[in-house]
């Protein structure tokens, strides 16, 4: 029908197309025939046009109708489809119903079977009932027999009870006799005890008797002894009598004794008192000593206090800000230092004084020497004076002589004429005159020189004397001043030297601090094996080893650069190759592993699918020891059974337990039958599959 429709549409389309293409042709002749203009043709043409318009109109209507028809057909189709759908649904419902019917029929069959089974069982039960009834009769008979036996046995029991009573009476009698006998026995035992006691007493008496006998013999011996003693006593009595007379004096003596004792006691008491008093005295003395000590201490303290006050006053008066003992000690130290400085000054001054005194002594000695010298000089002068006098005398004598000689000469001259004198004489005269002159010169010289010398000497001596005379005044003063200057110079030098010394000491100290030492006096030692040298050695070794390594490596690098590395790096290459081998092995093992994994996965998949196909259950492991089974014929995806493995882990004989799921709740009967009653999981599973299968494929 559809095909026909299609064809009609196509034909209409063709006709429509033809219609559309047709009017082109008539238009052309109209264009060409405009010039002719005859009415016939125009009429014809208008008729044709009208006809064509009618045709178009009719065609349009036809088309409209056609479309309506198509719509109708479409609606019809839809209606048909819906109907068909409804028909198929109803057919499916019917099938379902049929299936259910079949199921119900199956159930009815099963129920019928069960009914027949139940009927069979009923008949069996009836039979069993009959048998049981028979048994009951037998048992009743047996019961009767037993009852008769029981009555006989009851009779026997009554007779036995009688016997028991008799026996009890007998036993009672016996008991009474036994009690009486035991009483007798007790009495006898008591008697026996009495007898024993008696025996013991007797034996004791016997022993006492023996003891008495022995004592008797002892007594006899004693009596003898006593007799001898008596004899002695008699002797003694005589003595006693003599003694008694003496004893008569005893009371007097006793009185004396008492008195003495009293005295003694009194003395003792007094002694004790005395000792007590002594102790007290000692205590007091100690106290006194202590008091004295404390007093002394107090006095000392007061003194100290006074001192301290004086210190305080001093501090206040001096304004040295002495508040604390430290300050005081500081002050004291300063004062001590000052004192030391002053002492040093004192010492220096003392030493100076001493040196001056020494100088003085020296000077005194010199003075005395000078004095002695002056004395000597005086002596010399006196001598000189004497000499001078003598010389003057001699000079006088000589002048006199000269005068005499001159007189003689003049007399000669006068006697002799001036012409008469001979040249010899004149010569002599001249000579004599020369000599005279010489002597005169000498004299003059003597006269001139002598006094001046002496005077000079005298002056010098006098000066010396003067200096010696007031040594303390002028000369000494000068000297002292000189000495002082010297001393000052020396002091200055000393200070300079001290400073220098200090500086040098500082330097020495510094050097000392830096560890310098005097190689003449000291020597520096250390252990040969000290940590520094050990550490240095280690370091050196390390450095050497590193250097060796570096050189080795350098060689290697060089050889590598040269390209001849193969020879040197054999071991390296072997190492490398071994590592490569190992890597290859690793890779191959990894590959194998991966392959195995793939194979396993494939196999497992295969196994699972096979299991699924063969048993109709897909088995998944949800968590450890829990397995989920999903049937092929499950009505829903979630319908599954959960099994848990209990018992020893990994053991093959662990029992499986069904866990409760939504699906398992609906299988109460099968669970009860197969699991609780038959205890077979495979049976349960196959029952479930059968059930599900039957549900799925109802005919």
């Amino acid at each position: 029908m559809d095909l026909e429709d299609d064809t009609t549409v196509l034909t209409t389309l063709k006709s429509f197309n033809s219609f559309i293409s047709r009017p082109e042709h008539p238009q052309r002749p109209s264009d060409h025939s405009a010039g002719s203009g005859n009415l016939q043709t125009q009429y014809k043409r208008s008729m044709e046009l009208l006809e064509a318009a009618d045709r178009v109109h009719s065609k349009n209507r036809y088309l409209q109708l056609d479309q309506e028809k198509k719509q109708m057909e479409l609606s019809h189709k839809r209606a048909r489809f819906e109907l068909e759908k409804v028909a198929s649904d109803s057919a499916r419902d019917l099938e379902h119903e049929v299936d259910r019917n079949q199921e119900l029929l199956g159930r009815i069959k099963k129920l019928e079977e069960r009914e027949t089974e139940a009927a069979k069982k009923l008949s069996e039960q009836v039979e069993a009932n009959c048998a049981l009834r028979k048994n009951l009769g037998g048992l009743n008979k047996k019961l009767e027999e037993r009852d008769s036996r029981l009555s006989t046995s009851n009779q026997a029991i009554s007779s036995l009870k009688d016997e028991i009573r008799e026996l009890k009476q007998k036993t009672q009698n016996k008991d009474s006799t036994i009690s009486t006998q035991t009483l007798e026995n007790q009495e006898l035992q008591e008697q026996l005890d009495l007898q024993r006691r008696k025996y013991q007493e007797v034996s004791q008496l016997c022993q006492s008797l023996q003891a008495a006998q022995t004592s008797c013999s002892e007594h006899i011996i004693k009596i003898k002894e006593l007799e001898t003693r008596l004899a002695f006593q008699e002797q003694d009595i005589a003595i006693v009598k003599t003694v008694k007379s003496e004893v008569a004096r005893v009371p007097d003596l006793e009185k004396e004794l008492k008195r003495l004792r009293d005295d003694n006691a009194f003395l003792r008491e007094s002694r004790e008192n005395c000792s007590l008093l002594k102790e007290e005295v000692e205590g007091l003395r100690r106290k006194l000593e202590r008091m004295e000590k404390t007093k002394e201490e107090l006095v000392n303290m007061e003194l100290e206090k006074e001192k301290l006050q004086s210190w305080e006053n001093l501090g206040q008066s001096t304004g040295l800000n002495i508040r604390k003992p430290e300050d005081l000690s500081r002050e004291v130290i300063q004062i001590q230092q000052r004192e030391i400085a002053l002492k040093e000054q004192n010492y220096t001054l003392n030493s100076r004084v001493r040196s001056v005194e020494r100088l003085q002594a020296e000077l005194r000695a010199e003075v005395s020497q000078q004095r002695s010298k002056t004395l000597e000089e005086q002596k010399k002068r006196e001598m000189q004076d004497a000499l001078v006098r003598r010389l003057q005398k001699r000079v006088l004598l000589l002048t006199k002589e000269r005068d005499g000689m001159r007189a003689i000469l003049e007399s000669y001259d006068s006697e002799l004429a001036p012409t008469e004198y001979s040249p010899q004489l004149s010569k002599r005269l001249r000579e004599a005159e020369d000599i005279l002159q010489k002597t005169q010169n000498h004299n003059a010289e003597m006269e001139v020189c002598g006094p001046t010398l002496v005077e000079l000497e005298m002056e010098a001596l006098k000066k010396q004397q003067a200096s010696a005379a007031d040594s303390s005044s002028l000369a000494t003063k000068e000297e002292v001043s000189i000495l002082r200057q010297k001393i000052e110079d020396l002091e200055a030098e000393r200070q300079r030297l001290e400073e220098q010394n200090n500086i040098l000491e500082m330097r020495l100290e510094r050097n000392n601090l830096q560890g310098d030492y005097d190689p003449v006096k000291t020597r520096v030692l250390h252990l040969k094996m000290n940590p520094t040298s050990v550490a240095k050695q280690q370091r050196q070794q390390e450095v050497e080893s590193l250097r060796e390594e570096v050189t080795h490596l350098r060689e290697l690098v060089r050889s590598l650069q040269d390209g001849g590395a193969l020879v040197h790096s054999q071991d390296d290459s072997s190492m490398h190759s071994s590592s490569l081998d190992l890597r290859k092995q690793m890779e191959s093992s990894e590959l194998r592993n991966q392959r195995l994994k793939e194979v396993f996965q494939r196999k497992i998949q295969e196994f699972r699918t096979v299991c699924y196909v063969l048993t109709g259950y897909q088995i998944d492991i949800t968590t450890e020891n829990q397995y989920r089974l999903t049937s092929v014929y499950a009505e829903h995806m979630d319908d599954s059974l959960l099994f848990k493995k209990t018992g020893p882990m990994g053991g093959s004989n662990g029992s499986m337990q069904l866990m409760e799921t939504e699906f398992s709740k609906t299988l109460g009967e099968m669970v009860a039958l197969h699991l609780h009653h038959q205890k077979s999981i495979p049976a349960f599973l196959s029952a479930v599959t059968l059930d599900l299968f039957s549900r799925q494929t109802t005919i």
């Binding site: 560890g515 030492y517 006096k521 000291t522 520096v524 030692l525 000290n530 940590p531 520094t532």
Partner: protein, 202 residues
């Protein structure tokens, strides 16, 4: 202690001083980080907690030196003990811990004990060790690996024992010196000081 409570003999003094050196050297080594701090254990002595080394080699060395030093102290022939810290990389002396020892040689002749209680001496020693500990605040940091050596300045007439040899004074050029406290047993007086290389950065 061989000395009595009241006085002190030469032997006791030598032992006290040697003991001080042992503890002092240990604490210097600890404070200056010459040996790692985990090789030291805490010990209470002189009423204060001190660090003692557990390094067996170092222990052996120190006992050797200190026992020899004790002998010399007893003979009064030792003048100085110096702990020298040298840089291993440059072989430069960085620090010198110097302990000048003044011996009263008259104590050798007369065996009369001096009157100074051990407690006061130990107090003095304690303050010296405290000062040693405090010096870390101003001494320059030892950045490079260092080792130490002990020098003993003795009298010239002393016979050099076996295992010992003469050495240089190991003087630091351009050093700063700091005097530390001193203590005396009235027989031996120990003046301590530290010299360290002047750093250019200051």
């Amino acid at each position: 202690m061989t000395s009595t409570l009241k006085g002190i003999t030469l032997k006791g003094s030598a032992e006290l001083v040697a003991e001080f050196f042992s503890f002092g050297i240990n604490s210097i080594l600890y404070q200056r980080g010459i040996y790692p701090p985990e090789t030291f254990t805490r010990v209470t002595h002189y009423d204060m907690s001190l660090q003692l080394t557990t390094d067996p080699k170092l222990k052996n060395y120190l006992t050797n030196v200190v026992s020899q030093l004790k002998e010399w102290l007893f003979e009064c022939t030792v003048q100085k003990l110096v702990l020298v810290i040298t840089c291993l990389e440059t072989n430069e002396v960085l620090e010198r811990w110097q302990f000048d020892i003044e011996c009263d040689k008259s104590a050798k002749e007369s065996s009369v004990p001096r009157e100074k209680s051990i407690k006061t001496i130990q107090d003095e020693i304690r303050s010296v060790i405290r000062q040693i500990t405090a010096t870390v605040t101003f001494l320059p940091l030892l950045e490079m690996p260092c080792a130490f050596d002990l020098l003993v300045y003795t009298d010239k007439d002393l016979v050099v024992p076996e295992k010992w040899e003469e050495s240089g004074p190991q003087i630091i050029n351009q050093s700063e010196e700091v005097r530390l406290r001193s203590f005396t047993t009235s027989i031996h007086k120990v003046n301590s000081m530290v010299a360290y290389k002047r750093t250019d950065s200051v």
